[in-house]
Amino acid sequence: MKRRDFLKFIGAGGVGTGLGILFGQAIKPPGSKLIPYLIPPEDVIPGIANWYASACTQCAAGCGILVKIMDGRAKKVEGNPLHPISGGKLCVRGQAGLQSLYNPDRIPGPLRRKGARGTNSFEPISWEEALSEVTAKLKELSDKGENDKLYLLTSALSGHLGRLTDDFMAGYGSTNTINHDLFDYRNLRYANSAAMRLDAIPHYDIENTQYLLSFGADFASTWLSPVNLSRGYGEMRQGEYRERGKFVQVEPRISLTAANADEWVPAKPGSEAILALAIAKLIVDSGHYTGADASAWKALLAPFGLTYAAEATDLDKKKIRHIATEFMNTRPSLAIGGESISAYSNGVSGLVAVNILNHVAGNLGIKGGVRANDRDLFAGTRAKKVGPGIDALIRAAEAKEVGMLLHYNNNPAFTTPGTVKAAEALKNVPYIVSFSSFMDETTVLSDIILPANMSYEDWGDHFADPAPGYQVATLMQPVISPVYKTRSLGDTIMELGRGVGGAVAEKMPGGTFADHIKESWSKLYSQNKGMSASALTFERFWRDTLATGGWWPEGAYKEQKLSVTPKRVARHVSKEPAKFDGAATQYPLHLISYAQAGHLDGRGANIPWLQELPDPVTSVVWGSWVEINPKTAARLGVKMGDMVEIESPHGKIQSPVFLYQGIRPDTVAMPIGQGHTLYGRYAEKRGANPIEILPSTVDKRTGVYALNSTRVRILKTGRPGDLVKMDVSTDELGRNIVQTIAPGATGKVPPSSHH
């Protein structure tokens, strides 16, 4: 300490003490932090770690986690071993969550727009100012009688936060809650609801299946609930006391998940649904299906003959027949449908076809097949089925029908096709309020930003969807105090609601958001027999639940019959092919845009660990690439690392070439995640975003943008690219590094039988 500082400290301290008596807590002496802990805060013992249970919010799966806290700082996240979803395990994004929490580019406090919209010119303001401004704007809109012009745009919010925002919107008098995530399984929900009358996503029991047929579900890295499904995958392969399950993946490229398959089936992009229906037809025709409606199925599936399917899918007839035989004869078997069957203009049809396949093979409602999940634990806390999609908001914004927009935690300016011009459309909205944590391409369009706490700093809860066959409610508690000047989103919403007054104020619960959650859980405790049987008093139950991380009636799985009828699905079964933009003569290659393990829909790109994490399949770091089959590359005259232009009818982007044997020669693929123009120092101006050149093709039934619905051509630029990959060679050079053993050579031997 300098002498001058010392004097200042002494002086200020003296004055502070004096004024402190007058003004209470208003003025604190600046040197107060120098006083050592005479009575240390509870739970802080230097060098000793405390573990707090919470839920991971890096994706929607809702893994239970434990956060290691030392000296008030979060040090490490691990899976919660008691939790049925994570079982003590985590994925890359879950592990890297702390770099999102301690990210240097987080929005440090409330901001108000200063310059022109979208120019990233903001000034800091106080929370009081921010809240009163937004309240006034909400009142203004209400006074004009334009309550239904208020829009709320969030990712699907689970638990009480979702219900609170719904109540807020209902009380305010608007039905325009838009849930948007690039990968939010709207097609899957729609297809399951249409075919099986299931609202909640079912549990796909990979763990207990003997034959897994996956239509492009990349469950090892991003699909649905990657940690839970990967745990099941490990057990399916080498679990004790069982036979090793077989795994076949249908996908135009070898994704991380396809790399683990016993057989890779590269069906032509857009033909996956036909393949599924052709297999279903073979099963029905073989007499394996004995239901009363067998003849109706036969009639419905009649157009999907083997010859037709073989031609459409570009696969060998023998191969299709072989899959059908194994799929129906191995019991239990399971078919799942992921991105590469759903990312087309007829995506719902593909996923319905997967349901049909499961039905005729007899995989519905059985162990090792598709098992229904229980209904919601709390009414209205789970994300709604299929409401209006992001396309509805963009259309309304274009028509200047949006009076005010509340925005939280998603980035449509980055995750919607370039042709949609989402950012341009949103500029028509007179007033945008954002609760986001990072300045991304959408948040920059806001007029005011009220940054919310991250899940590690906040109360909350999460209801797993998909759950593992029984309800899983995970509690979140603040494991550290907020790193920046942020506030609980629940509290902000409640305060705004109360400020506006009227019907919306009546809908807002009393106290804080934390009080609201506790109160709501106490009601549930008294109603739910399982809960009230687990502890004598609610206080005891609450304490236990916070310690264990949540509540789940493990083993309470109830068998529930599931079925698909020809009548329900008839209108979704058609020979109409998937639509692709760009004539095949001019644009000869299909473009597959896929979620990358670390970045998902681009949200991981600002995390240094994830940028430096080699992509599991290509080993590329800090950038993007375009996967091209070496044969195609030779024809085009490009080699590994060359910068090329990828041109669709809707635009062009540049990316370095990655030569990959595991992709169809008529297809190229690009990962989603890079190409941010704004998202903090680690993400900005790095790589390219393939979504920019996609058409605005949607599946009309759900409004989901079809990611694989364009053809492209590749043009040489003659320049070297900026490809940095960690693998020098993918050839073992005879060193026999990854040793293999043929199935059946020793079979699968349970480890415990060896002693």
């Binding site: 000296d71 700082r73 040090k75 490490k76 996240v77 691990e78 395990k89 985590l90 994925c91 890359v92 592990q95 890297a96 770099q99 301690y102 240097p104 090892a220 990967s230 995958y233 490990g234 392969r237 080498q238 070898i254 991380l256 396809a258 790399a259 683990n260 016993d262 590269p266 660990w609 994830l610 940028q611 430096e612 080699p614 599991p616 399949v617 800090w622 044997q661 595991g662 992709i663 169809r664 020669p665 900026d722 940095v724 693998d727 050839d731 073992e732 026999n736 590094i737 990854v738 040793q739 293999t740 053993i741 043929a742 199935p743 699968k748 031997v749 480890p751 415990s752 060896h754 002693h755």
Partner: protein
């Protein structure tokens, strides 16, 4: 095994304390089941978080300065459409006849009483010898003193040293966690058993591909897994005697290595 190799191996062992093998308190061993491993890399990020590994940036990655103590290697076989992609996690193999140990002029890397190949940071003078000798390319050198952009440094694990420029480092089998487990066990008057500790990579692994434990304990899970007919060790013919045991991936890849590479060590 040819005579000359045996002689070299015996010679290497004679540099150590007599009775070296039998005197280990623990014999820490890792078993990696390649049939479970999906290549998801959760272990890699878990290791970064646990062991304070710095992020070096794109340019340094390009010149192989990336600090992953555990990495996933991938091998692609065959041509379209008969393509197989195989993954293998590789970390320090904690060899019992470690090539790195004999090279170090300052004894910064040596074998400890648990059979671990350990690195003493404040002895290391950065000759790079060990990294040159290492068969598995798992040693990482601090070319610079790397910085964390504030407030990312608040995440740093206080149980693990933050290394500085000029120091060699590598996978420690999470020795800080072993330390805690051994201390706790000692206080309770027993030995460390399965379930007392997990390495960061093992704890994170969603498919349960990684198992860690004491080979001296016949009831430990690693002792049982090590008897699997799928067992092999990496580049075993070089006689480095690694403490990491891999279990072969079950795969119909035609040129499959089959049963020909059984192990001679237990």
């Amino acid at each position: 095994m040819s005579g000359i190799l045996t002689r070299i191996k015996d010679k290497l062992k004679s540099y150590r304390v007599p009775g070296y093998r039998t005197k280990f308190d623990y014999k820490w061993t890792m078993v990696v089941d390649l049939d479970r491993c999906s290549g998801c890399e959760a272990c890699v990020v878990a290791c970064y978080a646990e062991n304070n590994l710095p992020v070096v940036g794109k340019r340094d990655c390009d010149v192989s300065r990336r600090f992953s103590w555990i990495r996933i290697e991938r091998y692609v076989e065959g041509e379209y459409p008969d393509v197989k992609v195989k993954f293998i996690p590789i970390m320090c193999q904690h060899c019992d006849t470690a090539p790195c140990e004999i090279g170090c002029p300052v004894y910064a890397t040596y074998h400890n009483q648990d059979g671990l190949n350990v690195q003493v940071y404040n002895r290391c003078v950065g000759t790079f010898t060990c990294a040159t000798y290492c068969t598995y390319d798992v040693r990482r050198f601090n070319w610079f003193t790397y910085k964390w952009d504030a407030p990312l440094e608040q995440q740093l694990n206080p149980d693990v040293t933050v290394r500085e420029m000029g120091v060699m480092e590598k996978c420690t089998f999470c020795i800080q966690r072993i330390r805690v487990a051994k201390d706790t066990a000692k206080d309770e008057g027993r030995k460390v058993t399965d379930g007392d500790m997990q390495t960061a990579c093992m704890q994170s692994c969603p498919t349960d591909a990684i198992t860690f434990g004491d080979m001296n304990d016949p009831n430990s899970k690693v002792s049982k897994l090590a008897k699997s007919p799928r067992r092999y060790r990496l580049l075993e013919e070089l006689d480095t005697d690694p403490s990491v045991i891999y279990l072969k991936r079950v795969m119909d890849d035609k040129k499959g290595s089959g049963n020909g590479h059984g192990s001679s060590h237990g």
